[in-house]
């Protein structure tokens, strides 16, 4: 028995995506995916009454595209984020426009505030914007007492702060693959679910199957610390148990990899004098594409995910590792040649929910298992500022007192851009940039089931529950190798 999963997600778009993943996974477990392929859209949208689009045929056509992406998507493109052209509603993108709420008032604040003289008035005194003059500054919209001036931007373009999304000849969204950092902001923001992340859920099912309950190799789940704000309808202990029921040998905290990273990154910082963090793959990709001159400052550390996976594989070369987290960019990171040997696949929390339900695993009915490998500091990597706190602690624990950390913790790609711009111009006063592409850090990731106000507090509470209070104690057991 499974619960009504609509409550698990923030939006109905996520729920739809989940249903496709669940059905694809279910058929894969049954060994009938090939036969079921054409039936899955019909299973999700039965009958003749459309609930999402103009007709059920279009709904099913879009679902067929979703099935393809759930199975790994286009093989022609390496980009993890894809647009489903036929699902794109071609939202208006006209920029600032005067609506019929304009009352034709006398004050004309809009006209006065416009720096380009783009506003004029017609015979009934209502305002008009001359698009050839308008620079989209938005001041007119802010001063209008009737909120009569709106800004029509596409949610995807608004979400993509690196401006990797444009509009193609057909009017659909198009992603510039050379710019895209796979952060998934557009995936979460598109109200039509027309942009989505490719799934490797079938690879994970294959890894589970072939391990034959650990007889052929042990399959490890490395889970991101942001899991503490997810699956809140059950307990974390039940999620751990659920992963073992699915067929994972055991579950390890990626946060222990974060503890390792805090140690090595703090020493690298002291040695180099300035550093940008390397935990967030989207931030690293952003520096490489938009600020290549700063690339030399990127920490040479592996990410926490790759660090813990490397430890597992160094001690057990036969092992396989699946990372489970909030992140779509991790799917790109695991394809990189320096990470590929350690991590076999990356899964989001959304996909994990689908995987549980494809096996009818009801977490709420399971007994509690335990998860405790990392320290408080490794665990708080999940939220903005956590990495900086951990680096500061690592310096202290290692007795490095002749170096003063001055961290610039950036939450969201716009803050990252501001800090990197300052560094480029030589006016950044801090000596460490903690860059997280998602707002709030990993808890804001596009692959989360839910995003809420309480997430940060939940991560901090989870951090405080860790048995080990210091980074050195947490990593001491790893020095066995």
């Amino acid at each position: 028995m499974t619960m009504d999963n609509k409550r698990v997600f923030d939006t109905k778009v996520q729920y739809l995506k989940y249903k496709v993943l669940r059905e694809v996974a279910r058929s894969a477990w049954n060994g009938t995916l090939l036969e079921d392929l054409l039936d899955i859209p019909m299973r999700i949208v039965p009958g003749k009454t459309p609930t999402m689009r103009c007709c059920v045929y279009k709904e099913r056509a879009i679902l067929a595209e979703r099935v393809k992406i759930a199975m790994g998507g286009s093989r022609d493109s390496q980009n993890v984020i894809e647009v489903i052209d036929i699902a794109c509603d071609e939202c208006p993108a006209a920029g600032y426009e005067v609506t019929d709420s304009c009352r034709g008032c006398l004050a004309h604040r809009c006209e006065d505030v416009c720096p380009r003289g783009a506003i004029s008035f017609d015979h009934d005194h209502t305002a008009h914007i001359d698009k050839s003059k308008c620079v989209e500054c938005g001041r007119c919209s802010k001063v209008c007492p009737y909120s009569a001036i709106t800004n029509r931007v596409r949610p995807c373009q608004n979400a993509c702060k690196i401006k990797a999304i444009s509009i193609n000849e057909e009017g659909a969204a198009a992603i510039d693959k050379d710019k895209c950092i796979s952060c998934g902001a557009c995936v979460y923001q598109c109200p039509f679910g027309a942009i989505t992340d490719k799934s490797y859920i079938l690879d994970v099912i294959d890894l589970i199957r072939k391990s034959r309950s650990g007889k052929d190799y042990k399959l490890y789940a490395a889970v991101a610390p942001s899991i503490s704000s997810q699956f809140t309808y059950a307990g974390l202990g039940q999620v751990v148990k659920g992963l073992k029921v699915l067929g994972f040998h055991t579950v390890v905290e990626a946060a222990l990899g974060a503890d390792l990273v805090a140690c090595t990154e703090s020493r690298e910082l002291v040695e180099k004098g300035f550093l940008t963090s390397s935990c967030c793959p989207a931030f690293v990709a952003y520096i490489k594409s938009a600020f290549p001159e700063l690339e030399e400052h990127i920490s040479h550390d592996l990410s926490p995910m790759a660090a813990i996976a490397k430890y597992i594989k160094d001690s057990e070369p036969n092992a396989k590792v699946v990372f489970i987290g909030p992140c779509t960019a991790k799917k790109t990171e695991v394809m990189k040649k320096e990470v590929r040997p350690y991590v076999d696949a990356a899964l989001t929390f959304e996909e994990l929910q689908a995987l549980f339900d494809s096996r009818d695993i009801d977490l709420t009915g399971l007994e509690d298992d335990v998860l405790d490998n990392a320290s408080y500091f490794g665990r708080i990597f999940a939220r903005s500022g956590g990495l900086s706190d951990a680096v500061s602690e690592a310096l202290k624990e290692q007795g490095i007192d002749d170096f003063e950390l001055s961290a610039c913790a950036c939450s969201g790609i716009e803050e990252c851009r501001t800090a990197l711009m300052k560094k480029k111009r030589g006016v950044l006063s801090e000596n460490f940039i903690e860059g997280m592409a998602c707002t709030g850090g990993c808890i804001g990731g596009a692959g989360c089931l839910t995003h809420g106000e309480k997430n940060k507090a939940q991560v901090d509470a989870y951090g405080r529950q860790a048995l080990e209070k210091t980074i050195s104690d947490a990593v001491s057991v790893l020095k066995l190798l």
Binding site: T250, S315, L371
Partner: protein, 80 residues
């Protein structure tokens, strides 16, 4: 001789760090570092017996309180 300590969550909560630290100290104070390969692993699948320690693939149940006795009877006596 290969000695592996489980550092998985369940054993960790039962004190595997203290077991590891004691074993490291005992091995170095007895100068047995070249004869014993001490390693770690996440989960040996016998969580209820934790802290799990294997000596040449034979599983033992150890706790921080019994580590010294365990070392003397199952490790030191066999390598010499």
């Amino acid at each position: 001789m290969k000695v592996t300590v489980c550092i998985g969550s369940s054993c960790h909560l039962k004190g595997s760090r203290q077991v590891v630290e004691q074993l490291q100290d005992l091995i170095s104070s007895e100068c047995l570092g070249d004869k014993i390969k001490l390693g770690g692993t996440f989960c040996m699948g016998e969580c209820q017996k934790g802290v799990c320690v294997s000596v040449d693939d034979v599983l033992y149940s150890v706790s921080p309180e019994t580590t010294k006795d365990f070392f003397l009877s199952e490790i030191k006596s066999r390598v010499q």
